[in-house]
Amino acid sequence: MRNSRRGLLALLAGAGAFAVLPGGPALALDTTEARALIETSLTEVHAVINSGQPPAEMYRDFEEVFARYADVDVIARSALGPVARQIGAGEFAEYRQAFQGYIGRKYGKRFREFVGSRIEVGEARPLKSFFAVSSTAYLNGRAPMQVEWHVSDRSGRSLFFNIIIEGVNMLASERAEIAAMLTRRGGDVAALSADLQQAG
């Protein structure tokens, strides 16, 4: 009885020690870090929007920001759905690369409509296995828009994997879009990747 209690105490103490270890897996990401990641990515996105470059160069820069701060691997995998598990690593890598460029162009075009706007990053809160960071986009002459970012460190690094603009979920809408594109190609992932290089 006493032994087991001591054992339990030791276990709890051990768990406590583990929890305060810097860089322990459970503590790698917190609200401050999640918030900081979104701040940094937004600063870079704004720099691109206001750079006044021609569109093609802007889209390439957006793609770079996306590749740096988003978990492109898991987003691409999730958008492709169960098919992602059935294809080879090489085929997936090719699709992933095409997907990244497609996102840069597609969302880059949307971002260009936000010239002159500003986004304020709000609170971060834990949600499921990740963190949700809220933000508000102020556009000229329009009611402010709520933009939520989902950040996770499950890839080994702290990266965002979803953006929800006024309830519209980027991952959900890309899932639907990629599924429709794949259906159009009769399930041929290589053909889908080729299409993605032009799309967006």
């Binding site: 597609k106 409509e113 996770s152 006024e166 309830g167 979920n169 959900a172």
Partner: protein, 262 residues
């Protein structure tokens, strides 16, 4: 374009009488679309209207495709959109009161008072820019939701676009509820209607690229429109599910995607 009764009523009766097919989970949200066949035909029609009529007009109104360099500058289209939005405020006040939400009702009431006077009949938006009184959007569809009416099936209405059975019924009631339809008569009422329709068109011009991206750029624009519209509408009404967790192995029937769990 503003709905007319002859456009909407048959649609509402047709659909309210219908049976419910089972809603299914699709791309992280519940989709209840028993009329998909008819909806897709209307969608194809709406897409044509948008490409041939709405988009060219919107492009003209926004002063040419690529010249949106300085967003601080007010364009004529913005003024028209402002007037249209201002005219829709009294109807929103009525709905907020019906929802038992005096806060937003007062806010929109003040906003209407300020913009109709200082904002010169709603051309400008001093209420939003100087007083922090942003518009709180609402409609009778939201009132119905607040009263506990179920969402019903997804509908795509001719010209008006995505809706649900609840929202389509709400649109009809909104025409009746709108104070303008009670204080104005004849030519005045037509004038207000025209201004509000023009306001909607101008609004479409502001986010033209995004609308066109979805309508003309998607592999399945019907499914994409339905998904985006339902997610947005449920967010507006506070009826959205949980977040989607793509990191989760088993997709539970909620809307948080956790890609790391797959």
């Amino acid at each position: 374009m503003r709905p007319t009764r002859s456009q909407i009523l048959p649609m509402v009766f047709l659909t309210l009488a219908a049976c419910a097919s089972d809603p299914v989970m699709r791309d992280g949200i519940m989709v209840n679309d028993p009329y998909e066949g008819a909806n897709r035909r209307i969608h194809a029609f709406n897409k044509g209207v948008d490409a041939r009529l709405v988009a060219p007009v919107a492009r003209l109104a926004s002063g040419g495709g690529e010249s949106r360099g300085n967003a601080q500058q007010m364009r004529p289209a913005d003024l028209v959109a402002n007037v249209g939005a201002n005219l829709s405020l009294p109807g929103k006040v009525v709905n907020h009161l019906l929802q038992g939400r005096p806060g937003p009702a007062i806010r929109n009431g003040f906003r209407f008072a300020v913009n109709s006077t200082l904002g010169i009949a709603g051309l400008f938006d001093p209420a939003g820019s100087d007083f922090g009184l942003d518009e709180v959007d609402t409609d009778f569809g939201q009132t119905l939701a607040r009263w506990g009416a179920p969402e019903g099936a997804y509908l795509e209405l001719p010209v008006l676009g995505p809706s649900t059975q609840r929202d389509a019924a709400g649109r009809v009631v909104d025409i009746v509820l709108d104070p303008w339809n009670h204080v104005l008569t004849g030519r005045q009422a037509v004038g207000v209607l025209g201004l509000r329709a023009a306001g909607k068109a101008a609004d479409r011009a502001r986010f033209g690229d995004t609308v066109e991206g979805v309508l003309q750029g998607s592999a399945d624009s019907y499914a994409q429109t339905r998904l985006i519209w339902l997610m947005h509408r449920r967010h507006e009404l506070g009826e959205e599910g949980n977040a989607f967790d793509p990191y989760d192995a088993i997709e539970d029937d909620d809307a948080v995607i956790d890609p790391y769990e797959e």
